[in-house]
Symmetry: C2
Subunit: 237 residues, 2 copies
Amino acid sequence: MIYYDIYEDLRDKILEGTYPYQSFIPSETKLVSIYECSHNTLRRAISVLMLHGFVQPIRGKGVLVIYRQERRANFVLGDIETFKEAAARNGLDATTRVHVFQRIVASAQVAEATGFAAGDELWHLERVRVLEGKALIRDKSYFLASALPGLTASIAEDSVYAYAEDVLGMKIVTSKRVVTLDYATSEDRAVMDLLDFDMLAVVTNHTFNEQGVMFETTQSRHRPDYFTFNNTAVRGY
Amino acid sequence: MIYYDIYEDLRDKILEGTYPYQSFIPSETKLVSIYECSHNTLRRAISVLMLHGFVQPIRGKGVLVIYRQERRANFVLGDIETFKEAAARNGLDATTRVHVFQRIVASAQVAEATGFAAGDELWHLERVRVLEGKALIRDKSYFLASALPGLTASIAEDSVYAYAEDVLGMKIVTSKRVVTLDYATSEDRAVMDLLDFDMLAVVTNHTFNEQGVMFETTQSRHRPDYFTFNNTAVRGY
DNA sequence: GCCGATTTGTCCGTATGTATC
DNA sequence: CGATACATACGGACAAATCGG
C-alpha cells in the first residue's frame, strides 16, 4: 500500500521535526516526484495525515503542518490500539488481572445492554488494568464466542486483540466509542485503586471485524487522573 | 461537490431505515449508474460514510451498514458544530450567559496554557451554557482578536461561530479535542447548577480556520450527567 | 487591476489486484 | 472457473485560490 507508506513517512518527518509546526510540507508536484507516485495516491496520503490532525491543506498555498508536541499525559486514548500498545507507547509498565472469565448466553437484558442479540453465545470478562502497580482501569467486556474460539483466561490476561489478530487472523476495522461519566460503584472500589475519587470516566466501545461483525463490546472505567481521550474532527470528512 | 451530495443521500437513507443495520447498500456499479458519477467519486462518498461509522465495506461482498440508532443521550458531542446546533439537534432549549468579555494581551502563562504566542491580542470569554433552565456547561474561551474583528458581548451571547462564518466569511476546518476529567472548582460551583457533583468532564479544543490559523481554544466544563462524547475510529484511516 | 505560474480540490476513465460466491 | 464486488493506483482535465510581477 503505497499511500500508507507515504503517510507514515510524512508523519514521521512531522513527528521528528523535519516539517515543523506552521510550516508547509513540499508541494504535491514535488512529493509526487520524490515518491514517484501518482498525484491521487499522494493526495490520499495527505488526506490520512489531515484526518489524524497532522496537517491542513490550504488551497493555492500548500499543506500546512498543524501538529505540535502535546504536554505529557498519563494515558492517552484515541486510535485503535490495544491496552498493551497504549501502555507501551506511554512508556508504562502494564499488567492485567482477570477477575471474571465465563461463557454465557446473552439474556434479553444483556442483549439490550451490549447490542448483541439475545441467545448469542458470549465470553464475559472482567479485567483490571494495572499501570505502574496501580489498578487504574476496569474493563467489563463481552466477546462474541463464535468469533473467538479457544479463548482462555491466560490469553485474556495477555491480550485478546493479539490473539484475535495474530492467532485467529481476524482484523479489527471499526471501533465506535462513547465517553461518559459515571459514579464509582462499590465494585469499582473493591478492585481498583480509586483513592478518594467518586466518579470515573467511562468509555463504552463497540468493535467490528473485517466481516462487519460486532464481535466485542467493552466498558472501560478509568480513574479520572489517568484519563485522556484525543480526537480530531475535520469539516466535511 | 458531488461526492458530498451522494454521502448525504446515502447517510439519510441509512438514518431513515431504507438501508437497515447489517444490510448491504447497493453495489458500487449500481450506485454509479444511479448517481451517474464516476467510480472514484462514489468511493469517496463511501469513505466519508465509513469514517462517520455508518458503513463498513467488505471486499468481495459489499458495503455493510453498521449504524444503528443509539439510545437517547442528554447532550451528544462529536462532529464540528456549534453549541446552538448541538442543542437544536438534541431538541433542547438553549441560552448563553456571558460572564467575562475582555480583550487581553497573552502573557507567557496564558500562551503556555492556550497554545497562542505571548503578545497575541486575544478575546477572553467566559460563558455558561444553559439548557432547559439548567446551567450545565461552562466555557472558558480565547479567540485570536485579529481573526475576529468586531466581536461583541452580544455576539458572544448568540454564537461566535455563526458570526465568524456568516458575517466574517471564515471557515472552521480542523478541531482538535482532548477529553479529561477535573475537580469542580468553587468558580464552577458559583456559576453552574452542579447539584452535588464534584467532578466535571472537560473538553479542551483547539480550532483552526481555513488559513491554518489556530484562532480559538476553549475549555468546556460539563456537568457529568449531561455529557456524552461520540467517536468512530477506522483502522488505516 | 490583470495576467500567468503555482498549488490544492474535484471529477473522470481505465487498469489491475484481491476476495467472495 | 467465471462473475461480482471492493481496493489500489495511474494519468489526465479542469476548477478555484494564492501570489508575484
